[in-house]
Structures are given as structure tokens and as C-alpha cells.
């Protein structure tokens, strides 16, 4: 057998082997998701009104956890248990809330939009709630109103048509606000200094009936 014939025989085999290896081992990795939501629950309970501080403490439980578009449950191990999910896909079933679902849960709201009262949602309850960021921006739902940004205080929120974040601590030294928010897949959920207050794309949003 000549070298040329050997090479002509070897190369198709090499290509075939590479293709098979990539298909067998690579395809499942590409489609891999943690299904974090498979471990979530549906636990909740109705409550009397709570304080803003309790709401902020609740929100803090999600800091350093993940972000999942359309998601709603997280643990408290300070890391995203489903990192790198493709953004904008609720079927990846990863850890964490999205921005509006996070606000819904941290504001102890009820899924029934005419009902303004309070409901504790387990951190691991996989619930998003009925509101989008734009709904909060325009005060949709009985618990929610709009408020002038200049009058906002902690546990109020700044909402645009595509994003919402709650005030964690207002007015830093550089006059930013520290916002607690479910920001993006790469960002996760956490607290960051932001300038939403002075950005006209954002409106002030408030939950009513804190004690």
C-alpha cells in the first residue's frame, strides 16, 4: 500500500472518528441544563403586612444567587447553581428569579392582582407572579403604585419597560443608589450601585401597605 493510499484511507476515518466523538460527547453537553427548578417547591402562606426592612431582608437572601428569565426559586448558597444558561429561555429551568418575579416575591405580593395584601413565598417556591417590569413601571395591580423618584426610599423600586430593581440603600457618597435586582444571566442577582434614579427611562414604583 502506498503512502498516498494509506493517507487516503486514514483521513476519512479520522474525520469520522472526530465527528462521532463530538456528537456523542459534545451534543449532550451543549443541551445540558441543571433543572434546578426540579428541586423547588410550591410553599407559601398569607401574612399580615410586614415592614420594608423585612422585605429587604428577604430580598437579600437572593444576593449572589442566579438569574433565570421567567424563574422564581433560589437557595442561599451564594452562587448560581445553573450558570451560563442561554438568556431569555425559561425552559432552561435554572436557579434564580428574573427582575419582575424577584420584586413580586420580595414585596410579598399575591398572584391575584386585585388583592393588595401580603403573602410569604418560600425562597424555593418556583413562582414568578403576574407582573412584568413594565407593569410595575405603570402601577399595575392593586398593591402597586407609581411614585415620584425624588420621594422614593429603600424597598421602593425603579422600573423601566424592561427592567426593575429595588432600592437597597439610597444615596451613596457619589449619589448613586445601591439597588438589589435580578439583573441578567451573567450578572445573577445581587446588589450594585446604579443610576436609575436620574434616568428618565425609569419610573418610581412602590408597594403599598407596609407597616
Amino acid at each position: 500500500m502506498t503512502k498516498r493510499a494509506k493517507l487516503l484511507g486514514f483521513l476519512p476515518g479520522l474525520v469520522g472518528g472526530l465527528t462521532l466523538a463530538l456528537f456523542v460527547f459534545g451534543a449532550p453537553a451543549g443541551a445540558y441544563h441543571t433543572d434546578f427548578q426540579g428541586s423547588c417547591n410550591n410553599y407559601f402562606m398569607n401574612l399580615n403586612p410586614i415592614t420594608r426592612a423585612e422585605s429587604r431582608n428577604y430580598a437579600y437572601s437572593a444576593a449572589a444567587e442566579g438569574y433565570q428569565w421567567g424563574g422564581g426559586c433560589w437557595n442561599t448558597n451564594d452562587r448560581d447553581d445553573s450558570p451560563g444558561d442561554p438568556p431569555g429561555n425559561p425552559n432552561t429551568r435554572g436557579e434564580g428569579p428574573d427582575c419582575s418575579g424577584f420584586t413580586f416575591k420580595a414585596w410579598y405580593e399575591r398572584a391575584e392582582t386585585p388583592d393588595p395584601w401580603f403573602r410569604y413565598h418560600s425562597l424555593m417556591q418556583n413562582v414568578h407572579g403576574p407582573y412584568t417590569a413594565a407593569d410595575f413601571k405603570y402601577g399595575v395591580g392593586a398593591p402597586n403604585i407609581t411614585v415620584a423618584k425624588v420621594n422614593t426610599v429603600f424597598a421602593d423600586a425603579f422600573a423601566s419597560t424592561s427592567h426593575i430593581g429595588m432600592i437597597f440603600w439610597a444615596h451613596t457618597g457619589y449619589n448613586e443608589d445601591r439597588i438589589i435586582e435580578a439583573k441578567c444571566e451573567a450578572c445573577g442577582t445581587g446588589t450594585w450601585p446604579r443610576t436609575y434614579r436620574g434616568n428618565p427611562d425609569y419610573s418610581g414604583a412602590r408597594r403599598l401597605y407596609w407597616t
Partner: protein, 459 residues
Amino acid sequence: MTRSWRWPLAGFVVGSLVGATLLTVNIVGAFVGEPAEVVVGQVDGGFDGEILHTPPLLVPRGQPVELVYEVVCARSADDPGTACSPKGSVHVRGVGEQAFADVQLADDGYGRLSATIGPDHTIGAGFDYYVDIEDGRGGSQSLPPGGHDVPHHAWTVATETTVALGEHVFGHTRAPDEIVERAEWGTGDGELGLSGGQDEARIGPSAFDIGPDGSAVVLDQVNQRLAVYPLGGAPRQLPIPFDGGEGDVAVGGDGTIYVLDDGGSTTPMPIVRSYDAGGRQIAGTPIAEPVADMIRVGPEGPVVHSYPSELWFPTGNAKPPLSPARQSELARPERAVEGGLGVVVHASSGEARLALVRGEDVVHSWLLKSSTDLGEVQLAEPYGDGLLVVVRLWTETQAEFHVLRMSPSRLEASFSVDRAEWAESAAVSRFRLHGDALYQLRSDPSGIELAAFAIGGTR
């Protein structure tokens, strides 16, 4: 088996092994990442939460000042109920004093703790202070974490130059003198990345800086790369690791590029990585505190502004970087700049105090007063014998940035610029001063650009 199948079979086996090996290396590499730095945790006394506080930094001499704290407590269980009941004391000493005096924090019943520091501590050059908080469930914490060894500091201001801005008239912005660079959104060569979707923030390049040779460096973190625009040369793209969603960038006098990565949900601490001009990583170190928003390069190297202390933490010149513990020991309330000076900023909705300080002395202080609400201070840099400041002015429906060139005696010049913030960038990294030009990172639906404004006056 006939001889004709030997070589195809050998190729198949080799190909399978190579493919499997490549995948394994790639997957393992993705999880292992760069060599880990040792994170030295703060001594937190079992405290699981965060103390929130905005240092007053610049206070009128001889006037009382209220120190306000709030405490956020992590939930100890996944059920409703009061998380904690914090209480504590502030420890205060005047400049030149050795011992701290204790002042009990008053509780307003809604989690707000406060203490009034009397004129006896503000009649001198300033005072140091720190707080000890107990959370009522066995944990305790100091802020700053270094306690009496690295306390907060407030300078007292005896005289200051007042700049009254009055009611701002919107719609009279100055056009840039030059568009230095422009790029479209995308992932291809020459494009800059944009992320976002429904119920997700729209994020573009986080930040930029101008190097000593005039080249621009844009942090294109969405595409995990730096975009470098050499003065008069062809743009280059340098791949970098980036864990979080946003960050900041600063270029040192030797051309070293420092990238602040907020870490996102990948790591609990922000990270600073340094790169040479070719994009090769030199070193990396975590920051001492869990949230950071700015990196700047001072006379002694890069410094990072971090929370909850709101101090500036030096991270060291490239290699070896400073450990988090060492950063905490060297943290300062002022940002060090050339000439042994420091820049101090404290702003609120109605007024902003800015000062150049040297050690415990205020060299000069300015008080900006505005009838239109002030937003964040985007930039405060020494300029001539004064200060160049960029601050946001806003109403519920409008916003612009206002540029002020201030000498020690007065406001020398000012103009407004369009906010041009269609895509989000890092909170206070939209502007940089280089020489006598102010640069702005601007975005709209079609793309992003670096604009330059000549400042004038004596640099």
C-alpha cells in the same frame, strides 16, 4: 478483516480519541479557569448580613453631624419572621486623639440606627469613627471591617467655594468636538456587545479609559474582550475572561490595563485582573469587599471603590497584587491623585461637596447647590489648581450631564452634554479626563461611540 480497512479504522480510532480529549480539556478548563487566589475573609464575628452607611466625608466645621446606619440580615430559615434585632455603638475620636469615645446608636424602631456626633468632634480638622453592630442572634460586625485600625474619616470644612447652579434649563447641550471612535452593536470584528431581553437589563460596554499614549480601551465584557483603539492605528480586540455582568477598566501610566470584574453570580467577590498591552494576563486578585463600582489608577497604582465601606482599596501594581487583607489595611476614604492630594466626593439630591485634601487637611472645598435635582457625580478630577466635575441633573422626565470647571475661587466654565445612555454602562464610568479633553461613552440603538470635548483653561 481485510488490509484495506486498517488505515480507515486507525484514523477513526485516533479521531475519536482526539475529539474526546479536546472536549475533556475544554470542559475541565472551563471549570478550573485561572489559578485561584486565596480569598482572605474578614473577621465577621458570625454576622450574616450587611451594615449600610453613607460616610459624610465632608462636614461643616463646628456643626453636629448625624451618622446613620441600617442593618440587613440574612434569613436564618426559609420562613417568615423577624430576621434580627441589631444594636450597637459608634466609636469616635478627633484628629490627633488616640482613644475612641463610645456613642450608643439610637433605634427608630424600623431598623434605622443613628448617633449624633457633637460639635466637640467637629471643631478640629476632622474625626475618625467606626461602628460595632450586634445582630441580636449572636453575630457582630464592624464597619469598616478593619474597625479601629482602619476607621472611616470625616474632614471638617471651614471655608468653601459655593457654586450655585440654580434651575437647570434642559435642551441646550454641547455637541462633541470629535467622535473618536464608533462601533455598531454585535459580536463580530469591530463591533461591541449588547445584552438584554424582556425583563432583562440592556447592557452595553461597561466602561472605557484613555491610555497614556492616547489610545482608547473599551471594556466589551458582553463579548468577553477588550477593544483597543490605538491613536492612529488599527483597532484590536483582546479576548479576556470576564465572569460578571459589568465592570470597569483603567489604564496605568505604563500601559497596564486593569479590569474590574463584578464577578456576577460566579464568584462572591469582585476581581481585578491586570493585562499587558498585548492582552496577556499578568495577575488577578479578589477585592476585599463584596461590591465594587470603580477602578482608577493613582500614583501608587490601581484603587477600587468598594461597598459597604465606601473606601478606596489599593490592589497593587500588577504582579504581585495585594491580598484582600492587605487591601483592607491600606484602604482610604479619599481617592489618591498626583501631588500628594486626594479627591473627596459626597453628593445628595440638593447639593454636593467636593474637596481636594492632603492627609487630614482640606486643601480646598467646593459646595455645589442646585435647584434641579443632582444625580450621581460621574467624574471629579484635579484640573489646573481646581477641579473638573461631571454631575447628572435630572427631573422625572429629563436628564443631562453637566460639566463644571472650577478654580479655587469660582466656577470658571460649564456646559451640558446629552446623556446618550441608551445602553447601560457601569454606573459612574461614562466619562474620563485625558489631558485637556473630556471623553464620554455614548450609546443609541445603532451603536456606541466615544466622544471628546475640549475643556479649555489651564490644565
